[in-house]
Amino acid sequence: MSKRRNVDAEIAQDLDRLRAATHGIVPSANFASRVMAALPASSLLPAASSKSSSTLFAVGRSWRVAVPMAIGAALASLLWARAAANNYEIAALVSDPVQAQAELALGESAW
Protein backbone atom coordinates (compact mmCIF):
# COMPACT_ATOMS: atom_id res chain seq x y z
CA MET A 1 0.00 0.00 0.00
CA SER A 2 2.86 2.30 0.94
CA LYS A 3 4.67 1.44 -2.30
CA ARG A 4 1.57 2.20 -4.30
CA ARG A 5 1.24 5.55 -2.54
CA ASN A 6 4.83 6.35 -3.35
CA VAL A 7 4.29 5.54 -7.02
CA ASP A 8 1.19 7.74 -7.10
CA ALA A 9 3.13 10.58 -5.52
CA GLU A 10 5.91 10.17 -8.08
CA ILE A 11 3.41 10.28 -10.93
CA ALA A 12 1.79 13.40 -9.49
CA GLN A 13 5.20 15.06 -9.13
CA ASP A 14 6.16 14.18 -12.69
CA LEU A 15 2.90 15.50 -14.08
CA ASP A 16 3.37 18.72 -12.15
CA ARG A 17 6.92 19.04 -13.45
CA LEU A 18 5.76 18.46 -17.03
CA ARG A 19 2.93 20.96 -16.55
CA ALA A 20 5.40 23.61 -15.45
CA ALA A 21 7.91 22.74 -18.18
CA THR A 22 5.39 22.73 -21.02
CA HIS A 23 4.14 26.11 -19.86
CA GLY A 24 6.95 27.59 -21.94
CA ILE A 25 5.53 26.33 -25.22
CA VAL A 26 4.99 29.19 -27.64
CA PRO A 27 3.70 29.21 -31.19
CA SER A 28 5.99 30.01 -34.12
CA ALA A 29 6.86 33.64 -34.73
CA ASN A 30 4.76 33.83 -37.88
CA PHE A 31 1.82 31.85 -36.49
CA ALA A 32 -0.64 34.76 -36.39
CA SER A 33 0.22 35.70 -40.00
CA ARG A 34 -0.28 32.08 -41.01
CA VAL A 35 -3.73 32.06 -39.42
CA MET A 36 -4.71 35.33 -41.09
CA ALA A 37 -3.54 34.03 -44.47
CA ALA A 38 -5.61 30.88 -43.99
CA LEU A 39 -8.91 32.73 -43.55
CA PRO A 40 -11.22 31.97 -46.45
CA ALA A 41 -11.75 34.87 -48.83
CA SER A 42 -15.48 34.20 -49.04
CA SER A 43 -15.86 34.95 -45.35
CA LEU A 44 -14.36 38.41 -45.66
CA LEU A 45 -17.76 39.93 -46.43
CA PRO A 46 -19.22 41.95 -43.60
CA ALA A 47 -21.67 40.04 -41.47
CA ALA A 48 -24.39 42.65 -41.89
CA SER A 49 -24.63 42.17 -45.64
CA SER A 50 -24.36 38.42 -45.43
CA LYS A 51 -27.05 38.39 -42.78
CA SER A 52 -29.40 40.56 -44.79
CA SER A 53 -28.80 38.53 -47.92
CA SER A 54 -29.48 35.36 -46.00
CA THR A 55 -32.70 36.89 -44.70
CA LEU A 56 -33.71 37.81 -48.20
CA PHE A 57 -32.78 34.37 -49.32
CA ALA A 58 -34.87 32.88 -46.56
CA VAL A 59 -37.89 34.94 -47.57
CA GLY A 60 -37.44 34.30 -51.27
CA ARG A 61 -36.23 30.74 -50.81
CA SER A 62 -39.28 29.44 -52.63
CA TRP A 63 -40.29 31.21 -55.82
CA ARG A 64 -43.76 29.82 -55.22
CA VAL A 65 -43.99 32.20 -52.30
CA ALA A 66 -41.84 35.06 -53.61
CA VAL A 67 -43.58 35.59 -56.99
CA PRO A 68 -47.17 35.81 -55.67
CA MET A 69 -45.91 38.09 -52.90
CA ALA A 70 -44.31 40.43 -55.43
CA ILE A 71 -47.47 40.50 -57.62
CA GLY A 72 -49.61 41.11 -54.56
CA ALA A 73 -47.39 43.97 -53.43
CA ALA A 74 -47.54 45.59 -56.90
CA LEU A 75 -51.33 45.33 -57.05
CA ALA A 76 -51.66 46.71 -53.55
CA SER A 77 -49.52 49.74 -54.37
CA LEU A 78 -51.53 50.40 -57.55
CA LEU A 79 -54.78 50.24 -55.63
CA TRP A 80 -53.36 52.47 -52.92
CA ALA A 81 -52.20 55.05 -55.46
CA ARG A 82 -55.58 55.06 -57.13
CA ALA A 83 -57.39 55.39 -53.81
CA ALA A 84 -55.07 58.22 -52.80
CA ALA A 85 -55.76 60.06 -56.05
CA ASN A 86 -59.49 59.62 -55.61
CA ASN A 87 -59.24 60.87 -52.06
CA TYR A 88 -57.32 63.93 -53.25
CA GLU A 89 -59.96 64.63 -55.88
CA ILE A 90 -62.78 64.20 -53.42
CA ALA A 91 -61.11 66.29 -50.69
CA ALA A 92 -60.23 69.02 -53.15
CA LEU A 93 -63.69 69.13 -54.62
CA VAL A 94 -65.19 69.50 -51.15
CA SER A 95 -62.86 72.29 -49.98
CA ASP A 96 -62.60 74.40 -53.12
CA PRO A 97 -64.45 72.98 -56.09
CA VAL A 98 -63.34 75.63 -58.57
CA GLN A 99 -59.65 75.52 -57.68
CA ALA A 100 -59.70 71.74 -57.58
CA GLN A 101 -61.22 71.54 -61.04
CA ALA A 102 -58.51 73.88 -62.35
CA GLU A 103 -55.75 71.78 -60.80
CA LEU A 104 -57.24 68.56 -62.12
CA ALA A 105 -57.40 70.10 -65.59
CA LEU A 106 -53.73 71.13 -65.33
CA GLY A 107 -52.84 67.62 -64.21
CA GLU A 108 -54.66 66.06 -67.11
CA SER A 109 -52.98 68.32 -69.65
CA ALA A 110 -49.60 67.46 -68.19
CA TRP A 111 -50.26 63.83 -69.00
Binding site: I25, F31, K51
Partner: protein
Amino acid sequence: MRMDVYEVEDDLQPLVARIAQGDQAAFETLVHATSARLVRLSSRIVGDLSAAEDVVQESYVKAYQAMMSGKFDGRAKVQTWLYRIVTNGSIDWLRRGQVAGRSLVPGVGKSATGAEAVSPEGEATMSPFATAEAAVAAVEARAALAELTRWLNQLPEEQRVALVLSALEGQSNREIAALLGCSEGAVEQRLVRARTTLRKLREQS
Protein backbone atom coordinates in the same frame (compact mmCIF):
# COMPACT_ATOMS: atom_id res chain seq x y z
CA MET B 1 -3.93 24.20 -6.70
CA ARG B 2 -6.35 25.72 -9.13
CA MET B 3 -4.77 27.37 -12.14
CA ASP B 4 -6.51 29.98 -14.14
CA VAL B 5 -7.89 28.33 -17.20
CA TYR B 6 -7.37 31.42 -19.25
CA GLU B 7 -4.43 33.71 -18.98
CA VAL B 8 -5.98 36.41 -21.04
CA GLU B 9 -7.73 38.64 -18.58
CA ASP B 10 -8.58 41.36 -21.04
CA ASP B 11 -12.16 41.48 -22.07
CA LEU B 12 -12.13 40.18 -25.61
CA GLN B 13 -15.91 40.22 -26.04
CA PRO B 14 -16.00 43.62 -27.82
CA LEU B 15 -13.84 42.09 -30.53
CA VAL B 16 -16.60 39.62 -31.41
CA ALA B 17 -18.95 42.32 -32.73
CA ARG B 18 -16.13 43.94 -34.71
CA ILE B 19 -15.12 40.61 -36.23
CA ALA B 20 -18.73 39.94 -37.22
CA GLN B 21 -18.60 43.23 -39.15
CA GLY B 22 -15.60 41.97 -41.12
CA ASP B 23 -12.90 43.70 -39.06
CA GLN B 24 -9.85 41.53 -39.72
CA ALA B 25 -7.62 43.57 -37.43
CA ALA B 26 -9.94 42.67 -34.55
CA PHE B 27 -9.59 38.99 -35.41
CA GLU B 28 -5.82 39.33 -35.54
CA THR B 29 -5.91 40.90 -32.06
CA LEU B 30 -7.93 37.92 -30.85
CA VAL B 31 -5.38 35.53 -32.38
CA HIS B 32 -2.47 37.35 -30.72
CA ALA B 33 -4.26 37.35 -27.36
CA THR B 34 -5.26 33.68 -27.33
CA SER B 35 -2.89 31.70 -29.57
CA ALA B 36 -0.17 30.95 -27.00
CA ARG B 37 -2.72 29.48 -24.59
CA LEU B 38 -4.45 27.46 -27.29
CA VAL B 39 -1.26 26.13 -28.91
CA ARG B 40 -0.05 25.02 -25.48
CA LEU B 41 -3.35 23.24 -24.81
CA SER B 42 -3.29 21.46 -28.15
CA SER B 43 0.41 20.58 -27.81
CA ARG B 44 -0.25 18.89 -24.51
CA ILE B 45 -3.06 16.82 -26.01
CA VAL B 46 -1.55 15.89 -29.38
CA GLY B 47 2.05 15.88 -28.15
CA ASP B 48 3.51 17.80 -31.07
CA LEU B 49 3.97 21.53 -31.58
CA SER B 50 3.70 21.48 -35.34
CA ALA B 51 0.50 19.44 -35.25
CA ALA B 52 -0.85 21.67 -32.49
CA GLU B 53 -0.32 24.74 -34.65
CA ASP B 54 -2.22 23.05 -37.48
CA VAL B 55 -5.08 22.18 -35.13
CA VAL B 56 -5.25 25.70 -33.70
CA GLN B 57 -5.07 27.30 -37.14
CA GLU B 58 -7.93 25.13 -38.32
CA SER B 59 -9.86 26.02 -35.17
CA TYR B 60 -9.37 29.75 -35.77
CA VAL B 61 -10.67 29.42 -39.32
CA LYS B 62 -13.76 27.63 -38.04
CA ALA B 63 -14.24 30.23 -35.33
CA TYR B 64 -13.89 33.08 -37.83
CA GLN B 65 -16.46 31.56 -40.16
CA ALA B 66 -18.84 31.04 -37.24
CA MET B 67 -18.45 34.65 -36.14
CA MET B 68 -18.96 35.96 -39.66
CA SER B 69 -22.10 33.90 -40.15
CA GLY B 70 -23.51 34.95 -36.78
CA LYS B 71 -23.35 31.44 -35.33
CA PHE B 72 -21.40 32.76 -32.35
CA ASP B 73 -23.44 35.48 -30.71
CA GLY B 74 -20.96 36.38 -27.99
CA ARG B 75 -23.10 35.25 -25.07
CA ALA B 76 -20.43 32.74 -24.05
CA LYS B 77 -16.93 33.96 -23.28
CA VAL B 78 -14.96 33.89 -26.50
CA GLN B 79 -11.91 32.32 -24.79
CA THR B 80 -14.08 29.48 -23.43
CA TRP B 81 -15.56 28.90 -26.85
CA LEU B 82 -12.14 28.82 -28.55
CA TYR B 83 -10.78 26.52 -25.83
CA ARG B 84 -13.58 24.09 -26.56
CA ILE B 85 -13.07 24.20 -30.33
CA VAL B 86 -9.34 23.53 -29.92
CA THR B 87 -9.94 20.68 -27.44
CA ASN B 88 -12.31 19.02 -29.89
CA GLY B 89 -9.96 19.69 -32.80
CA SER B 90 -7.10 18.08 -30.89
CA ILE B 91 -9.21 15.01 -30.10
CA ASP B 92 -10.16 14.77 -33.78
CA TRP B 93 -6.47 14.95 -34.67
CA LEU B 94 -5.69 12.06 -32.29
CA ARG B 95 -8.53 10.04 -33.79
CA ARG B 96 -7.31 10.65 -37.31
CA GLY B 97 -3.95 9.31 -36.16
CA GLN B 98 -2.04 11.91 -38.05
CA VAL B 99 1.71 11.64 -38.08
CA ALA B 100 3.69 14.66 -36.99
CA GLY B 101 5.69 16.28 -39.73
CA ARG B 102 8.28 18.09 -37.63
CA SER B 103 10.81 16.76 -35.16
CA LEU B 104 10.14 17.15 -31.47
CA VAL B 105 13.81 17.10 -30.68
CA PRO B 106 14.89 20.51 -29.40
CA GLY B 107 17.21 22.36 -31.72
CA VAL B 108 15.93 20.77 -34.91
CA GLY B 109 14.52 23.48 -37.13
CA LYS B 110 15.68 26.16 -34.70
CA SER B 111 18.99 27.50 -33.62
CA ALA B 112 20.20 26.48 -30.18
CA THR B 113 18.87 29.63 -28.57
CA GLY B 114 15.85 29.92 -30.79
CA ALA B 115 17.01 33.45 -31.53
CA GLU B 116 16.61 32.95 -35.23
CA ALA B 117 15.01 30.16 -37.19
CA VAL B 118 15.35 29.36 -40.85
CA SER B 119 12.28 28.40 -42.80
CA PRO B 120 12.35 25.49 -45.27
CA GLU B 121 12.59 28.10 -48.03
CA GLY B 122 15.79 29.37 -46.44
CA GLU B 123 14.31 32.65 -45.27
CA ALA B 124 15.27 33.85 -41.84
CA THR B 125 12.34 34.63 -39.58
CA MET B 126 12.31 36.75 -36.46
CA SER B 127 12.42 34.95 -33.15
CA PRO B 128 9.23 34.88 -31.07
CA PHE B 129 11.34 35.10 -27.91
CA ALA B 130 12.00 38.42 -26.28
CA THR B 131 15.02 37.22 -24.31
CA ALA B 132 17.56 34.41 -24.35
CA GLU B 133 15.96 33.07 -21.15
CA ALA B 134 12.63 32.82 -22.92
CA ALA B 135 14.30 30.96 -25.78
CA VAL B 136 15.91 28.49 -23.37
CA ALA B 137 12.56 27.99 -21.63
CA ALA B 138 10.98 27.24 -25.00
CA VAL B 139 13.64 24.65 -25.81
CA GLU B 140 13.14 23.04 -22.39
CA ALA B 141 9.41 23.11 -22.94
CA ARG B 142 9.81 21.20 -26.19
CA ALA B 143 11.91 18.58 -24.45
CA ALA B 144 9.31 18.28 -21.69
CA LEU B 145 6.61 17.96 -24.32
CA ALA B 146 8.47 15.06 -25.90
CA GLU B 147 8.72 13.37 -22.50
CA LEU B 148 5.05 14.00 -21.81
CA THR B 149 4.14 12.53 -25.18
CA ARG B 150 6.07 9.34 -24.43
CA TRP B 151 3.97 9.01 -21.28
CA LEU B 152 0.65 9.84 -22.79
CA ASN B 153 1.12 7.67 -25.86
CA GLN B 154 0.69 4.73 -23.52
CA LEU B 155 -2.86 5.77 -22.66
CA PRO B 156 -6.07 5.38 -24.65
CA GLU B 157 -7.26 8.66 -26.17
CA GLU B 158 -10.12 9.26 -23.70
CA GLN B 159 -7.87 8.80 -20.67
CA ARG B 160 -5.11 10.87 -22.23
CA VAL B 161 -7.36 13.85 -22.90
CA ALA B 162 -8.95 13.70 -19.43
CA LEU B 163 -5.53 13.53 -17.76
CA VAL B 164 -4.14 16.46 -19.75
CA LEU B 165 -7.16 18.63 -18.99
CA SER B 166 -7.06 17.72 -15.31
CA ALA B 167 -3.38 17.45 -14.37
CA LEU B 168 -1.85 19.89 -16.85
CA GLU B 169 -4.62 22.34 -17.66
CA GLY B 170 -6.00 22.48 -14.11
CA GLN B 171 -9.61 21.95 -15.13
CA SER B 172 -12.14 20.59 -12.65
CA ASN B 173 -14.01 17.36 -13.40
CA ARG B 174 -17.12 19.42 -14.00
CA GLU B 175 -15.37 21.64 -16.53
CA ILE B 176 -13.90 18.62 -18.29
CA ALA B 177 -17.32 16.97 -18.43
CA ALA B 178 -18.74 20.11 -20.05
CA LEU B 179 -15.85 20.29 -22.53
CA LEU B 180 -16.04 16.65 -23.54
CA GLY B 181 -19.81 16.32 -23.40
CA CYS B 182 -19.86 13.50 -20.85
CA SER B 183 -20.79 13.06 -17.19
CA GLU B 184 -18.54 13.96 -14.27
CA GLY B 185 -18.60 10.28 -13.30
CA ALA B 186 -17.21 9.34 -16.70
CA VAL B 187 -14.41 11.90 -16.28
CA GLU B 188 -13.57 10.54 -12.82
CA GLN B 189 -13.51 7.00 -14.21
CA ARG B 190 -11.16 7.99 -17.04
CA LEU B 191 -8.80 9.72 -14.61
CA VAL B 192 -8.72 6.73 -12.26
CA ARG B 193 -7.99 4.42 -15.18
CA ALA B 194 -5.29 6.71 -16.54
CA ARG B 195 -3.51 6.84 -13.18
CA THR B 196 -3.85 3.07 -12.77
CA THR B 197 -2.27 2.52 -16.18
CA LEU B 198 0.58 4.90 -15.42
CA ARG B 199 1.14 3.25 -12.03
CA LYS B 200 1.35 -0.21 -13.59
CA LEU B 201 3.77 0.99 -16.23
CA ARG B 202 5.95 2.62 -13.62
CA GLU B 203 5.90 -0.46 -11.41
CA GLN B 204 6.88 -2.62 -14.37
CA SER B 205 9.76 -0.36 -15.22
